[in-house]
């Protein structure tokens, strides 16, 4: 696997293999088409919950779209679960997609399909025999506690239930990595807590590495082991969550902390489970 013991600009050296490894990622757009990225480095160790933080316009969506390979980067490297995704296209890229599940902020569930059929979709697309699809879907729906909603349509569900369907669908192909786009924004506090618990469970029980892209510092503080702070398309800070939240070394991070109403000196609760205790899934 790529990305072992890579020395970074920051003093941190990860020794675990990377689930997601991004190096020098650069993306430019014709004006107005999106926020640019400038030589972004990112490493998500296997088993970690890593957060990419940034205010709107920092380039978070562009980073997500590049890692998801909905955009082709202008320069740099993207390695997902040991495979070089940087210049994959067409059928090659489709075969690789099962390694990384993605939950989008708007969830993008299919309104024309039932809950069960939504979860079955990635399996159908990847040519899984239909005899194997039904038990896998049932297993996922039970794991997420929405088995009784199998025959309902997304529009009939609550926000939290829809989030579960989206997570179940993203995990249907048993990916090693989950990429979550703003998983907690626009949720009420109760649902937010339940989503965070689910993400913890996905990492702790299913051994899935999670990369969260968010502006919601509070959620990131609660759940992430490590953080990368993005501003104007550049990485301004990267390291263990406790360090970044308690001793922010840049003004950008301090501003982000200030915006959540918590000064940089407040001690944030940081997830106590660390990736190195889990080993490789």
């Amino acid at each position: 696997m790529r990305g072992q013991s890579i020395q970074r600009n920051s003093p941190i050296t990860y020794t675990a293999p990377s689930a997601v490894y991004v190096r020098g990622l650069t993306k430019r757009f014709a004006s107005g088409a999106g926020a640019a990225l400038d030589a972004v480095d990112l490493e998500v160790p296997v088993g970690a919950i890593h957060g990419v933080l940034g205010s709107s316009g920092a380039g978070k969506s562009t980073l997500l779209r590049c890692i998801a390979r909905l955009e082709k980067p202008d320069a740099g490297e993207i390695v997902v679960a040991g495979s070089d995704w940087t210049s994959l296209t067409g059928a090659q890229l489709r075969r690789e997609r099962g390694k990384m599940g993605i939950v989008f902020q708007q969830l993008h569930l299919l309104s024309s399909r039932t809950v069960a059929a939504n979860v079955a979709l990635p399996l159908e697309l990847n040519g899984v025999p239909s005899a194997e699809i039904a038990p896998r879907v049932r297993e996922l729906l039970e794991w997420f506690g929405i088995a009784e909603k199998a025959a309902e349509y997304p529009a009939q569900l609550s926000g939290g239930q829809r989030q579960r369907v989206a997570l179940a669908r993203a995990l249907a192909t048993k990916p090693r990595i989950l990429l979550a786009d703003e998983p907690t924004s626009a949720l009420d506090p109760e649902t937010r807590t339940s989503v965070l618990n689910m993400l913890r469970g996905i990492r702790n029980q299913l051994g899935v590495t999670i990369l969260i892209i968010t502006h919601d510092l509070r959620s990131a503080a609660e759940i992430c082991d490590s953080l990368t702070v993005l501003d104007a398309g550049r990485v301004v800070e990267s390291g263990p969550a406790s360090q970044i939240l308690n001793q922010p070394s840049t003004d950008v991070t301090r501003r982000l902390l200030a915006h959540t109403g918590s000064p940089g000196t407040t001690r944030f609760p940081v997830s106590l489970v660390h990736f190195d205790e889990l080993g490789q899934p």
Partner: protein
């Protein structure tokens, strides 16, 4: 009035036959052409200015010719395809050629109504472009497509009224030849009433079907 009933009944059947056949063919061709228009449009899955412009020009040509003139222009083609340029079957040719571009534009609009983010999300689930079209694009657009085809069917009834020009028969033909040219106001009124009823039934059915398929 009673002696009118068989004629009116035959004319209604002719209209229904023409419209049904034309709508079925227009739906098939319209789905193909409309999908291509939507996929290649600037907001589509695979934007391609060249192909989109070409298809757009093609679909605009026959829409820009008044239907009555289209019938006449297409007479040689009709004779070639159907073997004759007169009758109900012959009327279907201009109906399909006039209706397909119209159907295609309606299909394009219904498809572009599907959230592009949804298509991208499905691509990240491992969908090939054709899977995205068949498993997501078209199924998600079904309520919109049903509404589009309802409009199409009603327009086809309107077009079919002009099919009398090639001896296509039908309600429009009856209304003109008996109702207008022979001063049979009762025929004219009957034809209008049947046409109004047909349109109401189609619209009602279309609305209900669209609502039943709409899970949003």
């Amino acid at each position: 009035m009673t002696e009118l009933m068989p004629t009116l009944f035959t004319a209604t059947l002719q209209t229904l036959a023409m419209v049904t056949a034309a709508v079925i063919l227009c739906v098939i061709f319209g789905l193909v052409l409309g999908s291509c228009l939507a996929i290649t449009s600037p907001q589509g899955m695979a934007p391609s200015r060249g192909i989109h412009e070409l298809l757009a020009i093609f679909s605009n040509i026959s829409r820009s010719i008044p239907f009555l003139i289209l019938i006449v222009v297409l007479l040689p083609l009709t004779r070639f395809l159907v073997g004759t340029s007169i009758g109900t079957a012959a009327a279907i040719v201009p109906l399909v050629i006039g209706g397909t571009p119209y159907a295609a534009r309606l299909v394009e609009a219904a498809l572009l109504d599907v959230d592009p983010g949804l298509i991208q999300a499905v691509l990240t689930l491992g969908a090939s472009p054709s899977q995205a079209v068949w498993k997501v694009y078209l199924p998600e657009a079904i309520p919109g497509l049903i509404r589009a085809f309802t409009v199409l069917a009603i327009t086809m009834i309107n077009f079919s009224a002009m099919a009398g020009a090639v001896g296509g028969g039908g309600l429009g033909d009856l209304a003109i030849r008996y109702g207008y040219q022979r001063f049979r106001l009762d025929v004219l009124a009957s034809c209008c009433i049947v046409l109004i009823l047909l349109v109401q039934i189609i619209q009602f059915t279309g609305n209900n079907l669209a609502r039943r398929f709409d899970r949003r």
